[in-house]
């Protein structure tokens, strides 16, 4: 019994079970009201069945082809923006650490960029860049750089005073202090930033998709509703988007482990 209570998977199982139950109750209720020809809240098994359905839903493509094809586009654009935002965020953190003036100048206003609603920002960026692909990348980058910059900076600042003094006593150059201490020390902080921003980059990419219809999960999402492609495609996209969002964050955690050998080893009992 105690073992059961300590099991990590138990709360997750309860949650999943609860969600499924809630969903199915909802599906039944919606089905009974039945205002549309198709059930807007289909049963879960129907959505799952749609994955394996060979019937073409859009231009000769099956449901799963539509979802995966557009997901590929969305992820690729999100990735470009994410990569750009990550580099920008890291550089900004470095600049703010190197110069107190830069920190005072930049840091308080960084948050403002974050506070502008992305939905409002998207059309403006689109009209500036004039290209939906570019604006997708720009918006993903804008959402990415802030968590990366602030977390990395927090990592730089978290280095204990004694470590600085130790390096000072070795007469280490500033460059050495950064490469040997500050940057390696901030790696977990940097990855915390990445874990937050990776799903945001994907969300941004999906959102911008909806502005113009040239593929991508977001445009398929609105099309699937408007053009009566199939309600199952709609829900497949919703679930798949949620999945890649969560997975992108998990992926960052996995990459982090690859870079931090001390995390792979278990804590031992020394003498």
């Amino acid at each position: 019994m105690k073992k059961l209570r300590n099991a990590k998977w138990l709360p997750m199982l309860v949650w999943i079970g609860g969600m499924i139950a809630l969903w199915e109750v909802g599906a039944l209720v919606v089905a009974s009201t039945k205002r549309t020809p198709e059930n807007v809240l289909p049963h879960l098994y129907q959505i799952i069945a749609a994955i394996f359905d060979n019937k073409p839903v859009n231009g000769g493509q099956t449901a799963i082809m539509v979802v995966l094809g557009s997901a590929g586009k969305t992820i690729l654009r999100a990735f470009y923006g994410f990569a750009a935002g990550t580099i920008l965020g890291f550089m900004l953190a470095l600049i703010m650490k190197l110069s107190r003036i830069a920190e005072k100048l930049i840091f308080p206003y960084l948050m403002l960029v974050q506070m502008i609603p992305i939905l409002g920002m998207a059309p403006i960026i689109l009209s500036i860049t004039g290209d939906i692909n570019k604006s997708r990348i720009v918006i993903a980058a804008i959402l990415t750089f802030y968590p990366v910059a602030t977390n990395t900076l927090a990592g730089f600042n978290a280095v204990e005073h004694e470590k600085h003094e130790l390096m000072h006593s070795y007469a280490a150059s500033k460059f050495t202090v950064y490469t040997k201490v500050l940057i390696p020390y901030s790696v977990p902080y940097f990855f915390t930033g990445l874990k937050i921003s990776a799903p945001m980059a994907i969300t941004a990419s999906i959102l911008v998709d909806t502005l113009q219809g040239d593929g991508g999960l977001g445009s398929m999402l609105s099309q699937s509703l408007k053009h009566g492609m199939s309600i199952y495609v709609f829900w497949l996209i919703v679930f798949f988007s949620a999945f890649i969002g969560i997975f992108s964050s998990k992926l960052m955690g996995m990459i982090e482990k690859l870079f931090s050998p001390q995390k792979r080893k278990k804590r031992g009992n020394g003498v």
Binding site: K265, R267, G270
Partner: protein
């Protein structure tokens, strides 16, 4: 006994401290005298303790010797050089109270860090770190990470790292004060053994009277309000020192003498 006589005979002053003083500003902006008018000569190869309660300026003195702090008045000369010059020559080994290890580096790589900073070759880094690991008895833990070690072992890595650069002067700021008594006694013996092997000048800050007496050639007693050097007590116990010596009347006499030389009463 011959060893002691030898030590006392060839006393060569390495660090000379003259009328050294330090003033800090508190939160209200008032000047607080942390240390006042310290005159002290430290000999080459000597193990000297700076002993006192908190707020007596002992760590301040250590930090001024290490060029981590600029003195307000007076001066420190190390073989005729300023502390800054000695630091830039990379001749200081510093051991803090916390082990200050780099968590992403293995034990061995932690010991090699200062050597890397000082641009030693890869082979030299490895040779020295292996030698140091052997000296502190952590050869089997070379590939471990700091978070896998106990507090005592971490502190050993810290000491090994400080010795790895073959410093002229080893500065230790309460290195054992967060360790339990058993670990501490073991590390005392280790430290004395390593010190004997390498013959460095050691300046050891502590607030533990028995520890200061057990380890040192001389104990500098500091008193607070204002921080000042109030007495220097010669410790003429023979070396090598052993745990059993702590039970002898001579040892207890010295502890009593050191305790008696505090000024400022109720600390």
């Amino acid at each position: 006994m011959s060893e002691i006589i030898e030590r006392t005979e060839k006393k060569e002053v390495e660090i000379s401290i003259k009328e050294l003083g330090m003033t800090f500003q508190d939160n209200q902006g008032n000047d607080v005298r942390a240390l006042t008018d310290v005159n002290l000569d430290i000999y080459k190869g000597e193990f000297i303790s700076l002993l006192g309660p908190s707020g007596c300026g002992k760590t301040t003195l250590l930090r001024m010797i290490a060029d981590l702090l600029e003195p307000a008045d007076g001066e420190v000369r190390i073989g005729g050089r300023t502390p800054r010059e000695v630091r830039l020559e990379q001749k200081f080994g510093i051991v803090f109270q916390n082990a200050v290890l780099f968590y992403w580096r293995t034990v061995q790589k932690n010991i090699e860090l200062p050597l890397e900073v000082m641009k030693f070759s890869k082979e030299e880094c490895k040779a020295r770190s292996c030698e140091m690991l052997e000296m502190v008895g952590l050869t089997n833990f070379a590939k471990s990470y700091p978070n896998q070690l106990s507090g005592g072992m971490q502190q050993r890595v810290n000491i090994a790292r400080a010795f790895s650069i073959h410093p002229e002067i080893l500065l230790m700021d309460e290195p054992f004060s967060s360790l339990d008594e058993f670990t501490k006694e073991k590390l005392h013996e280790d430290l004395l053994r390593i010190w004997k092997q390498t013959n460095k000048t050691v300046i050891f800050v502590t607030h533990n009277i028995a520890e200061a007496v057990f380890l040192s050639d001389r104990v500098c007693v500091f008193s607070p309000h204002p921080g000042r050097l109030s007495a220097v007590v010669e410790v003429d116990l023979p070396r090598p020192r052993t745990i059993e010596m702590k039970e002898t009347p001579e040892f207890n006499e010295l502890v009593k003498k050191v305790r008696g030389s505090f000024e400022g009463g109720s600390v």
